[in-house]
Amino acid sequence: MAAKTLYDLPHGVQGVVHKIAGENKLKRRLAEMGLVQGAQVEARQTAPLGDPRLYRVAGFQLSLRNEEARSVILEAAS
C-alpha cells in the first residue's frame, strides 16, 4: 500500500509527519517551516481550482501546492 501523504488528508483531519521526500532544497524549506518529523498537521481548505491546499502546522496557516504536499509522508497510524 502506498504511503499516505499530506495531500491525502481530508479537510479537518490531523496527521503526523513521518518524513519528507523530494529534493534537498524542498526538504529544507519545508522543515524550516515546521514540517519536521513528529509535527502535527491538519488539512484545512482547498483553493477553488483544486490546487494549492491550506494546512495548519506549528500554529499557523501554510499553503502548499499539491505537488509539494505529496512529498510529505505521514505516519501510518494517523
Binding site: 534537498n24 529544507r28 519545508l30 519536521v36 481550482l49 490546487d51 506549528a58 499553503s63
Partner: protein
C-alpha cells in the same frame, strides 16, 4: 547632549515576515528613515535612527525571513549582514501568538553568539488567544532580555527603547547559550569547530560553532566566512555526506529537526495556552471559510477587484480633473505673464503639458495603493495568491504575480512598483517585463478612437480583441522568458497565510505617502527631461521653408472669397495645412520621415509614425499628435469626429487594426521605462522590454498588413 554623537549603538532588526517588524521599526524611528540598498543588489533596506537618553540608536531593518539559509535573496542578505560586523546588537522580533515557527529563526540567531534582545510583538493577539508567556524564564533560556510589545498601538515601545539603552550601557554582552542537537550532529559540529579553532585565524574563533553549523548546513559563499581552505571545505562535505548516509536526510533537515525539538521543549516550559472549546472556529477561520470558499472565493475576489478599479477611477477622476485644470491654468498664466521668450515656449509647450499629462495619474496611483495597502495589511493579499496560484502556475509564475498584472490594466507604473511584494527575483523580473502588455488605461483612448472610426458596428468586439491579445501576449511572453532567460528550477510555493488583521490608518497613510513621493520624484526627473526633449524636437528648427508660399495663398483666398464664414474657414484650413507642413519640416517631422521606411511595410504613413514616436512620452499623446498632423484642429480643440473621418481616408481598415496592435504592444511609455529602470536597478531590463515590445509590435502589425492586403 554634546557628546551624544559618540554614543551610538547599531541595532539589526531580524524577524519572520508578518511579525509586525516594519510597524515596530516605524514606531521606533518615527519619520527619521532613509532607504538604502544592500550593496550590489536590488533589495532595499530601511535605516532609521532615534535619540533616547543620550544615545543615538541606529536601526537597520533587515528583510523579513523565516530562516537564515541561502535559499532566497532576502535570507542570504540577512545572513550576510548578521555574519558581518556592521552592527552591535540583534533585535529579534517575534509574533507572540505564533511563537513556534518564529522561534526557528531565533535558534539560528542564538548560534551567532551576538548580543540579542527579544521582542514578542502583537502581544494583544496572543492575549486574545489566551496565551500566557513566562517572560523571565524565556529570557533565561534564550539568553537575552525579552519583552512584549504591540507595535500597532505603541504599547511597550518606550520600555523597549529603555531596554536597548540599558543593554548599550552594559557594554553589549555576548551571549553564550546553544541549541543542543543529537549525538551524531554534535560530534560532527565538534570536529568542525575544533578544526576552525586550530587552523584558522583569531577573528574566526568567536563564532566557531556557528561557522561549523554553517558548513554542515551547506551554506557557502558567505562573506566573513573562513578564507578558502580546502581542508575545511572537504571536511565539511565529508561530515554532510556521512550524516546523510546515516540518517537518510541531509544535515540541514537534521538540524531543523533538532531546532524544532529545542523549540518544543522551550514552549512546554514557558508558554501556556487556555484552549478554546473544541469545535469552535476562530473569526479568521470563519472568514477563510467564506473568502477562500471553493465556489465563492474567486467571485468574491473579482468583486473586490471590480470595487477597487471602480473606486479608483471614479474617485480619482475628481482630483485628476483639478490637477488637469491647475496645469491648464498655469499654462495660461505663463503664456500671459511671461514675455514672449524661449522660457515661455518651453514652459507652455513642453514642461507644463508634459508634466501635467503625467501628474493627472497621481490620484489614481495613490488610490490604487490605498487598496493595495488595505489588502496587504489585512492579510487578504496572501489569500489572493492562494486563490490564483493554480492559474498562474500554468505560465510558470505563482499567485503573488496576479495583483501586479491586474493593476497593469490601470497603469503599469504602480503595477510594476507593486511587484516588490514578490520574493523571488526571477519571478519578479518576469512579472515586470510582461506587465506593459497589460493594456493600461492611457492606451484606451487610442483604441476607442480607432474602433469608432474604422469598426463603427463592432467597437466592443474590437476593443475586447485588443485586450485579449495583450493578455495572451503577456502569458506567452512569461512562458518564453521562463524557458529562456529565466530558466532554472521553479521555487517551491510555500506561502504563509497570516491571520486577518485590521489595517491601521497610520500604516496605510504611510504606505500611500511613500508611493506618492516616489512618483513625484520620478516626474521631477525623467518626465521633465523627456517633455523638454520632445518639445525641442517639434519646435526646431524655427524657420521651415515650405514648398509653397502661405502669404500668397492667403492673399489668393482673400481675393477669391468675400468676407464671411466661407473665407474664415478657408483661412483656418490654410493655417492648419501650414502648421502640418511646418511640423513635417521640424526635427520630429524629419525624424518621422527618416524612420518612415521602418513603418512602411506596416502601411503607416509618416504622420502615423510620428504619432507613435511621440506616444513614447505617454500613450494618450498618440491622439493629440494625430490631431495636429492630420490638421483637424490644434491640440486644445481636438475635433474627434473630424479626425475620425480624416483617419478613415488616410489608411485602410486592416492597417488601422495593425496600428491599434502596434500601440498595444510597442515600447512602454517613458514613465514605465523609468520605473522598470528604478525597480531593476539596471538599464538592461528597460532596454530589453522596449526592444522586445517593438519587435512584437512590428511583427504583428506587419502580419495584419500582409494578410489583410491579400484578402
Amino acid at each position: 547632549m554634546s557628546d551624544s554623537a559618540q554614543k551610538t549603538v547599531t541595532i539589526a532588526l531580524a524577524g519572520n515576515p508578518n511579525c509586525g517588524k516594519s510597524a515596530l521599526f516605524n514606531r521606533l524611528t518615527g519619520a527619521r528613515q532613509r532607504v538604502a540598498n544592500f550593496s550590489g543588489v536590488t533589495v532595499a533596506r530601511k535605516e532609521g535612527e532615534t535619540l533616547h537618553k543620550g544615545w543615538l540608536l541606529r536601526f537597520i531593518d533587515l528583510p523579513g525571513t523565516y530562516s537564515l539559509s541561502t535559499l532566497t535573496m532576502e535570507e542570504k542578505l540577512a545572513q550576510e549582514y548578521l555574519l558581518g560586523n556592521e552592527y552591535d546588537l540583534i533585535l529579534n522580533i517575534m509574533d507572540a501568538g505564533n511563537l513556534e515557527r518564529n522561534l526557528f529563526l531565533t535558534t539560528q540567531l542564538i548560534e551567532s553568539g551576538r548580543p540579542r534582545v527579544y521582542v514578542l510583538n502583537m502581544a494583544d493577539e496572543a492575549r486574545r488567544k489566551g496565551i500566557t508567556i513566562n517572560l523571565p524564564l524565556l529570557s533565561t533560556l534564550l539568553d537575552g532580555p525579552a519583552l512584549m510589545t504591540v507595535a500597532r498601538t505603541g504599547e511597550g515601545v518606550d520600555a523597549l527603547l529603555d531596554l536597548l539603552v540599558e543593554e548599550a550601557e552594559n557594554k553589549l554582552q555576548r551571549r553564550g547559550v546553544s541549541v543542543r542537537y543529537d549525538s551524531h550532529l554534535e560530534e560532527a559540529i565538534g570536529r568542525l569547530t575544533q578544526h576552525i579553532q586550530t587552523h584558522l585565524g583569531k577573528q574566526y574563533q568567536q563564532q566557531a560553532r556557528w561557522r561549523a553549523i554553517q558548513l554542515l548546513e551547506g551554506n557557502q559563499g558567505l562573506p566573513g566566512a573562513p578564507p578558502p581552505n580546502e581542508h575545511l571545505a572537504i571536511q565539511g562535505e565529508a561530515e554532510r555526506y556521512h550524516l546523510a548516509a546515516m540518517h537518510g536526510d541531509p544535515a540541514e533537515v537534521l538540524l531543523a529537526n533538532g531546532r524544532y525539538g529545542f523549540i518544543r521543549g522551550l514552549l512546554k516550559e514557558t508558554v501556556q495556552q487556555q484552549f478554546f472549546a473544541v469545535g469552535t472556529l476562530t473569526l479568521g477561520e470563519r472568514l477563510d471559510g467564506i473568502l477562500l470558499h471553493r465556489l465563492l472565493g474567486l467571485p468574491l475576489f473579482f468583486l473586490s477587484m471590480w470595487v477597487m478599479f471602480q473606486t479608483t477611477f471614479t474617485l480619482g477622476k475628481v482630483p485628476a480633473e483639478v490637477i488637469n485644470n491647475l496645469f491648464s491654468w498655469l499654462t495660461e498664466q505663463a503664456a500671459e505673464l511671461l514675455a514672449p521668450s524661449l522660457l515661455r515656449e518651453v514652459l507652455t509647450g513642453g514642461i507644463l503639458p508634459g508634466v501635467g499629462g503625467v501628474a493627472v495619474f497621481l490620484p489614481t496611483i495613490i488610490l490604487l495603493f490605498l487598496f493595495i495597502a488595505l489588502f496587504e495589511d489585512s492579510g487578504y493579499m496572501a489569500r489572493v495568491a492562494f486563490l490564483t496560484d493554480r492559474a498562474m502556475h500554468i505560465i510558470g509564475l505563482h499567485g503573488k504575480a496576479f495583483i501586479p498584472l491586474l493593476m497593469g490594466f490601470g497603469c503599469n507604473v504602480p503595477a510594476i512598483m507593486a511587484t516588490r511584494a514578490m520574493e523571488h527575483p526571477r519571478d519578479r523580473l518576469v512579472t515586470i517585463l510582461i506587465n506593459p502588455f497589460m493594456s493600461c488605461s492611457a492606451r484606451l483612448p487610442v483604441f476607442v478612437l480607432f474602433a469608432a472610426a474604422f469598426f463603427p458596428e463592432h467597437e466592443g468586439s474590437v476593443l475586447f480583441s485588443i485586450y485579449m491579445i495583450g493578455i495572451v501576449t503577456a502569458l506567452l511572453s512569461a512562458l518564453l522568458l521562463k524557458k529562456t532567460l529565466f530558466k532554472g528550477i521553479s521555487e517551491p510555493f510555500v506561502l504563509e497565510l497570516p491571520p486577518y488583521r485590521l489595517p491601521t490608518l497610520r500604516s496605510v497613510v504611510r504606505h500611500m505617502w511613500e508611493k506618492a513621493v516616489e512618483f513625484l520624484k520620478k516626474m521631477g526627473g525623467v518626465i521633465l527631461a523627456g517633455s523638454i526633449i520632445i518639445w525641442f524636437l517639434q519646435a526646431y528648427p524655427r524657420e521651415v521653408t515650405l514648398p509653397w508660399n502661405p502669404e500668397e495663398r492667403l492673399a489668393a483666398i482673400e481675393m477669391q472669397l468675400p468676407e464671411g464664414k466661407e473665407r474664415q474657414e478657408a483661412i483656418k484650413a490654410l493655417q492648419a495645412e501650414q502648421s502640418a507642413a511646418e511640423q513635417e519640416g521640424r526635427y520630429l517631422g524629419q525624424l518621422g520621415r527618416w524612420i518612415q521606411p521602418i513603418f512602411a511595410p506596416l502601411g503607416f504613413d509618416w504622420r502615423a509614425s510620428i504619432a507613435l514616436l511621440t506616444g513614447f512620452v505617454a500613450k494618450e499623446v498618440v491622439i493629440s499628435t494625430l490631431g495636429v498632423l492630420y490638421h483637424s484642429g490644434n491640440k486644445e480643440q481636438l475635433q474627434e469626429e473630424l479626425l475620425q473621418e480624416k483617419l478613415t481616408h488616410a489608411m485602410p481598415r486592416h492597417v488601422a487594426y495593425g496600428f491599434m496592435l502596434f500601440t498595444l504592444l510597442y515600447i512602454p511609455c517613458l514613465a514605465t521605462i523609468a520605473v522598470i529602470r528604478r525597480e531593476t536597478m539596471s538599464w538592461r531590463w528597460p532596454l530589453l522590454s522596449a526592444s522586445f515590445g517593438l519587435s512584437l509590435a512590428w511583427l504583428s502589425a506587419w502580419t495584419v498588413h500582409t494578410v489583410g492586403g491579400l484578402l
